[in-house]
Symmetry: C2
Subunit: 467 residues, 2 copies
């Protein structure tokens, strides 16, 4: 796409500003995100009992804090995680797509993650669960600012490979479960097979709870990134949860996830850290699509790997007792990329000033000092293709693509729909004026890319910016 | 459909039982139902801000009481109202379809409505809003057990007729707004044109609030049936609400509806009747379909006039302080037809024993004495066609019909889907055993019809049962 290359200082303006003095004491941050959990799964989003399993612990978390109905993510695992952790659209860091088929993948070490930002600001940092931002030694969480990690470098579908007819490890080996400490090579904890896949969220939860307890005792502020592997395919509950709901694997899994989140909340309380801990629960992208494991996007259409709302909108709950308004529900536009600057702001961390940062600090919005989000729009990339844009309550689609396996087809003119009156994005509106603010966004992005070229996918370390 | 005719005492067993002694003091009943309000519109069902308007008053009502996620209705206005008010599937009373084109319509006076049942039990009874169960004098609410009424005999689309090119009143006159007292002819309050249509829910609310205040003062238990006309097409807010949300007519209408429900709740409180009043809020059927006014079915597919969940499932909230559990959310199957026996039970009214009654008394379930509904299944008629059946968490479709204007096409074998894992009813399952309990239901229904033939649509009064 040739129009995605030039120079502008616009996007750097915010980045160059030094962090504002922290009005809040620097809280702990427990950042829990599920894998492919669709908008419609949780009780507080109209799911729960309707999906065969109530989610009382997560619903209670929602009631204790603020719940967003318009939180958006990049629509694939790798880009979503890249943007949340670096504050940059994943296309900038070479992480615009889930990597397939081996080879170098993930974030270059040149990227600055929230782990590095908060670590430098004095936080203890732990990463537990699925990473998907670098398979090789040297590209794991402990190479990107986290003091310790446990989890899988890639993704849960690999656990199915050994039971796929025709597969042999000679073709491509299945990933292993790993653990590690800062700047050390990760240690191998064995193959990530189906049995391990069913159990890993329990282990992620136990290790996370242990980290929370230890850091709270040490009296040091901490960041725990807890990247649950459910409900990503193969969607199966842990052995202790199998058959619990009577409504099948998906419902059992949902009950298990609710229980795990409850265990994490209990760990925070038991550590006496409830009042001084920001808890965020969200999902990396929209609903699982691959049958028979497909998920529920609630009122929206589409799933992950699409620019439809079902791909972008995810559950988002945030709790900080006495600071984040309780019981608030907001439809303001926010994006996962904003978590970087928001978490940095909470921890008084320093945001890099030498690169485009797309993240907006959402503290004023989330802490209730403003009814408005710091963002009302964003571009939607699907892979390296600018597929759509969201601007206020409008969505503009450049391409039509209904599922991850449909080839995208360019619309002759952008398809604009009103998300209030047309949540399923089926009714193009006569709203050509919406194209103007969207094209302004596109031009600003292109200008920034001309000045700071995107890092190509598969770039090895060391990466040296071409300036 | 020849298999819909024979004799069984099964359905009569429940009907012949005398009402149980009332364990509860006989409460007032304020029964509010919207017109074509889809499952996904209210904040407490995942709508609200996502549709452009928060619904704080209705959401608070939900939190104060019990909210059902599996309340079902017959999927058209006339049958839905007939089944709620008589406790009989609408096909029995000749009300299986919305009447079009003039002629005799609605309930024969032989039917016994909840108005008659509770009136006989000493309740003051009022009906306010859309009726759609009889156009002619002699078939209005005040001919069916209600002490007074105000509203429209048919439906809101007629308000558009005068602005439709080619229309003339000679062809078919538009309905008028009416009011009346028990056993008196209704009085004409003028044509139901577009201007009146926009204002009528305000008037329904004021008259209902006045009725509540008067009856509470008189110290007599009362039943207020409040049949709001929104959001049925043409979906437009009242003049005072136009432009309030900034998000268009639909959102303005939603804000207005929430306000009206709030006014009714305030009226109950101001009358000092809060603790002794059961408040129910629901919708007559699934979402509005006709563009540009179509509504939101939330996670379900389909709209009114279809047997898809979006046609059947409706919001349902019930509050009775200290009696109905607060904050409870249940996915147990319940049906609008059950309101007849449930309201009769609450008021210690007598249910007729001389005809098939399909209604189940849901007091144990709604009052929290049982986790289980008194029903786990029902048949779905679309017009006079047995189109589908719901049995526990399964749906069995005899016909495929995606919208009200698609011709129904019979499936070669019934299409069965699991509503937990397939809320959009797109994935037929290998669950042929579900057909067995459904066919048992069908046989019981057919047997009852052989003994008590259904009343044909358009039957004039007096109706004399052929026995």
């Amino acid at each position: 796409m040739p129009f995605l290359r030039t120079a502008s200082a616009l996007l750097l303006a915010a980045a160059a500003v030094a962090p504002a003095p922290a009005a809040e004491s620097r809280p702990n941050i427990v950042f829990i995100f599920a894998d492919n959990l669709g908008y419609g799964e949780l009780g507080c989003y109209g799911g729960g009992v309707m999906r065969g399993a109530p989610t009382p612990r997560i619903d209670a978390l929602a009631a204790q804090g603020t719940r967003l109905t318009n939180m958006n993510m990049e629509p694939q695992c790798t880009p979503s995680r890249a943007s949340m952790l670096t504050g940059r659209w994943a296309i900038r860091s070479g992480c615009h797509s889930v990597p397939f088929g081996g080879g170098a993948d993930g974030l270059t070490r040149w990227e600055v993650t929230i782990g590095e930002v908060l670590s430098e600001a004095g936080y203890a940092t732990g990463y537990f669960g699925k990473w998907h931002l670098g398979s090789d030694q040297g590209r794991h969480p402990t190479d990107q600012g986290f003091d310790q990690w446990f989890g899988i470098p890639r993704t849960s579908d690999e656990s199915l490979w050994p039971v796929t007819p025709g597969y042999s490890p000679d073709i491509l080996p299945v990933e292993h479960v790993l653990e590690g400490e800062r700047d050390q090579p990760s240690r191998d904890l064995g193959i990530y097979d189906l049995e391990r896949r069913r159990q890993i969220d329990g282990e992620i939860t136990r290790r996370s709870a242990d980290f929370i307890a230890r850091q709270a005792k040490a009296g040091r502020p901490f960041l725990a990134c807890i990247s649950l592997t459910q409900p990503h395919l193969p969607t199966e509950p842990g052995p202790a949860w199998k058959g619990r709901t009577g409504h099948g694997n998906w419902a059992d899994m949902l009950a298990e996830m609710d229980h795990h989140v409850g265990e994490l909340l209990d760990a925070i309380d038991q550590a006496g850290a409830g009042d001084n801990t920001v808890v965020v629960f969200t999902s990396d992208n929209g609903a699982e699509f691959t049958r028979p494991w497909d998920g529920c996007s609630g009122p929206w259409r589409g799933q992950y790997f699409t620019a439809l709302e079902g791909g972008l909108r995810v559950p988002f709950l945030v709790r900080w007792p006495g600071k984040v308004p309780a019981g608030r529900v907001s439809n303001e536009v926010m994006h996962g990329v904003d978590l970087f600057a928001t978490f940095a702001g909470l921890g008084a961390g320093r945001i890099p000033a030498d690169r485009p940062i797309d993240s907006r600090d959402q503290r004023d919005f989330l802490l209730g000092r403003s009814q408005k989000s710091a963002r009302d729009s964003f571009l939607v990339f699907v892979g390296d293709r600018l597929q759509a844009a969201k601007w206020r309550n409008y969505k503009l689609h450049f391409y039509r693509q209904d599922t991850m396996v449909d080839p995208p087809v360019r619309y002759p003119v952008p398809m604009v729909c009103n998300l209030f009156t047309d949540p399923r994005e089926e009714k193009p509106g006569l709203t050509a004026w919406v194209v103007a603010p969207v094209m302004k966004m596109v031009e600003e992005y292109e200008a920034s890319v001309r000045r700071f070229p995107n890092i190509p996918m598969g770039t090895p370390d060391p990466y040296i910016p071409p300036r």
